[in-house]
């Protein structure tokens, strides 16, 4: 792996470039230099001039929070995806595999359809809580006195997701036209609702999960050998599982509450990174975080730019950009992966 060192600067550069683009691109024309001055104004709280008040407002209240939220959510989802794939030793695992996304969607649907006057925070809070409760149910179902079985976790995740899906279907049937539309759009995900308190919450979640996942990187590597082997190495596998699942539920729960459901990032980014650096979690986790962040920031730029002055749901863009790219990659690697 002697060439690995240059992937770090490469991905970090991509992240910095996408973030800078994200604050300087939008339906309102603000030249890059003015955008960066506005960012410096915001960061230092000193007015260095040359920025009109309405431009400063757009940077402060629209573009900066959006960029940071996309960055945080993308990094959290990609890391949670990598961890779940490692924990389940299953390449199809995504951050929602433990039921947190489907539970959150059900919680949001209850709020959107039955309590339409609750406001947006009500939707976010009920999505988060329902996501946590669902994960807890899945975990309890899979736990027995002799430990927690990965296969049972996977199956109860599928079963609970199916139940939540039925619940959402029922609510969809009951919904009036307005609620129906809100629900559909919420399920496609959007960074548009970026407000500073969501941004701060997501950044805190990012810091916590990154730090804790990084502490578990070695254990996750051991787990790749298989559960029994990991136990022989002296690893408390059940404790590790619980810790990772709780972290993932909180990270994904906060992300989903802030942005709705954004697919693809958590499933595919870890694979892309693995193709480049191999399965070592010490490299995989931080690189997934950087690539996930860059991709979601990029997708959000697309969401804002493609149909300006209106917007696309960002979940649509992640799939539109990401899926073909991933397919091309698979085709290139196909002969070597078999």
């Amino acid at each position: 792996m002697d060439n690995r060192h240059w992937l770090w600067p490469c991905l970090l550069t991509a992240l910095v470039i996408t973030s800078l683009m994200s604050v300087s691109i939008g339906p309102l024309h603000i030249s890059p230099s003015v955008s960066f001055s506005a960012v410096i104004n915001w960061a230092t709280q000193i007015d260095i001039g040359s920025v009109a008040p309405h431009e400063q407002l757009v940077i402060d209240q629209v573009r900066l929070p959006r960029t940071l939220l996309a960055l945080a959510v993308g990094a959290v989802l990609a890391q949670c995806g990598a961890v779940m794939q490692g924990l389940f030793r299953n390449p199809l695992a995504d951050p929602g595999i433990i039921g947190v996304s489907s539970g959150a969607a059900f919680g949001a649907a209850i709020c959107i359809v039955l309590f339409p006057q609750g406001g947006e925070y009500a939707v976010a809070i009920s999505a988060f809580l329902a996501g946590l409760v669902t994960t807890l149910v899945v975990y309890r179902l899979a736990s027995s006195p002799s430990g927690t079985s990965v296969v049972l976790l996977l199956l109860s995740g599928v079963a609970v997701a199916a139940l939540a899906g039925a619940g959402i279907g029922l609510l969809t049937y009951m919904a009036d036209d307005m609620a129906l539309r809100d629900l559909t759009l919420w399920q496609l995900g959007s960074i548009a609702g970026a407000q500073w308190h969501y941004v701060i919450l997501s950044l805190i979640a990012l810091a916590v999960v990154s730090w804790q996942f990084n502490c578990s990187a070695k254990a996750l590597n051991a787990l790749l050998l298989g559960e029994a082997e990991a136990r022989h190495l002296g690893l408390d596998v059940d404790k590790l599982k619980l810790k990772l699942i709780v972290l993932c539920a909180i990270g994904v729960g906060i992300s989903v509450a802030a942005t709705g459901i954004i697919g693809f990032i958590g499933l595919v980014v870890p694979h892309l990174v693995r193709m480049m650096v191999g399965p070592d979690h010490k490299q995989l986790l931080p690189l997934s975080a950087i690539l996930g962040a860059a991709l979601l920031v990029l997708a959000d730029i697309g969401a804002r730019a493609i149909v300006a002055p209106s917007e696309l749901p960002v979940g649509l863009v992640t799939a539109l950009i990401g899926a073909p790219f991933f397919i091309v990659l698979l085709l290139k690697q196909r002969s070597k992966l078999v």
Binding site: H54, N221, P279, S310, E311
Partner: protein, 318 residues
Amino acid sequence: MFNCKTHLKTKLSTRFKTTSKMGATAIFSILALISSSAYAHDGEHVNGHEQSSAPRVISAGAGMTELVFALDAGDELVAVDSTSQLPKDKEDIAKLGYHRMLSAEGILALSPSLVLGSDAMGPKATLDVLSSAKINVVQLPHANTQTQLFSNIDAMGQLLKRETQAKQLKTELQQSFTDLERKQQQIANKGDAPKVLFLLLQADRPARVGGDDTAADIIIKLAGGNNIAGFSGYKSVSQEGILALQPDVILISNRSDKETENPVRSLLKKMPLLAHTPAGKNEQIQNLNPQALIGGLGMSAIEAADKLASDFISVKRY
């Protein structure tokens, strides 16, 4: 891919160079693509610094937009939401997407002097940004009653400086309402109100019946009819269910793009049981203008109701 086997590692490492180069190239080419498309949009912007004298109005919500045109202020519109209907000669006006999911920056880029919408306009975060950018954002309640409609017309007349037109529009509408009341009275004098059912048709989907709290319900009640759906909102009802309700009049509205030659005949072909309802027997199946069904109580809804009331009267028995 998921095991730590060393041969896979070596395989990956030998391939690593090409893959990451490819990944990097792909990422940067997508970047270039998006930035070029984003900056292409910038060409259409209107500079926010230039305070032009002409008002620039954005209208969100079908009912609001209909009123803007009725008050003869259509020339001041710079953008509408996706639910608004535009006259043929104005179809090049910018579209902002759905009126509950408006983008703050998209609106700011059009530097409007006034943003008009119903109480459904949102999200709140977007409206807050617009307000802090000193843009006049006005939300008027959704009109379901005559009183509300008139107070909306007054408010809008003031905002758009079209007081004369507002006054005239109210006079015309007052006349329409008076006519409608007279017709309602005539219908009531004939005995029971006609039993009406509204069907929303979509190609290859079961018909949905419009119950209480729908735009169709407003029109039926205005025309002096009795909506017999018995539930609220739109719900799918089978042919058998419709037959059991025994409607005297069936209203249909087609939401698919295909303009059918004879909507009533094609409906009877698709739903033959409807021919056995009183409405089918007396040929009381009528087409309703889809325009009348959006934006609550407004000009098109009143017009549709008036036509419907005349039909109720001209038919001897229901």
